[in-house]
Symmetry: C2
Subunit: 115 residues, 2 copies
DNA sequence: TCCATGTTTCGAATACTATTGAAACGTTGA
DNA sequence: TCAACGTTTCAATAGTATTCGAAACATGGA
């Protein structure tokens, strides 16, 4: 994942409304939710919602599909994973420097040589 | 971790300069780096750097300590962990809904395994 | 004490972001 | 066809962020 994409993805969820939207979608699971339903659940006005949804989609954090006159949005777990991967992957620069590695890097932590 | 704190933390690293600063610190490890050194490595002007460092510190993503006339900054891995925890913890709402859980929840995912 | 070095604060210019209501667009069902 | 419904676009506005140079502040050594 490119740094620029990471910043975009982080910025996408680093905002009250969008984090709420994203979490709502995440909790809704793979079935997703119609835009209007998201609006109901989050209390965000339609035009604002559309704006944020576009932002999230542009960042690759959500996907959308037309279903009749509804537009169903779903969280993109792939991007989410890539984002988490980037953050943990770069967390130590390959060195056993911190506990951040503990959960994520443990399996591969022993394969590196020591010069 | 509170939602507000999460947004603050995410916003802190959802920015080119700050992500660069943070990653630099993360790669530097627990020893940290002096502000000036960070500036050298990232190419950020002193005043901008100070601004961003303050932002990161306020979000709890970095810590600082005076050392002579240097100020040493270190990444705060605890906050980093909490952030990752929040993102993965809320990723499924407790349900086996997505692959986001795979790397993080694996250890605990086996307890419900019925084969 | 004075000077040199490292860091932060200040002030201001510029650019970007979030929000809203109204209007437009596309789809469905009568 | 028409009207109703769900969603998006548009334009305007208010607020926030980023950046920089210059100046101030703090520390250490002579």
């Amino acid at each position: 994942m490119e740094t620029k994409a990471v910043v975009t993805a982080l910025a996408a969820i680093a905002q009250d409304s969008r984090l709420a939207i994203f979490r709502t979608l995440v909790q809704a699971g793979p079935e997703g939710l119609a835009a209007g339903r998201i609006g109901e659940l989050t209390g965000i006005a339609p035009s604002s919602l559309s704006f944020h949804l576009k932002e999230l989609a542009h960042a690759g954090m959500v996907d959308s599909q037309q279903a009749g006159r509804f537009v169903i949005y779903t969280a993109n777990f792939e991007t989410m994973n890539a984002l988490l991967g980037f953050l943990t992957e770069n967390c130590c620069g390959g060195n056993p420097c911190s506990p951040v590695c503990s959960p994520a890097c443990e399996p591969e932590a022993t394969e590196k040589e020591s010069t």
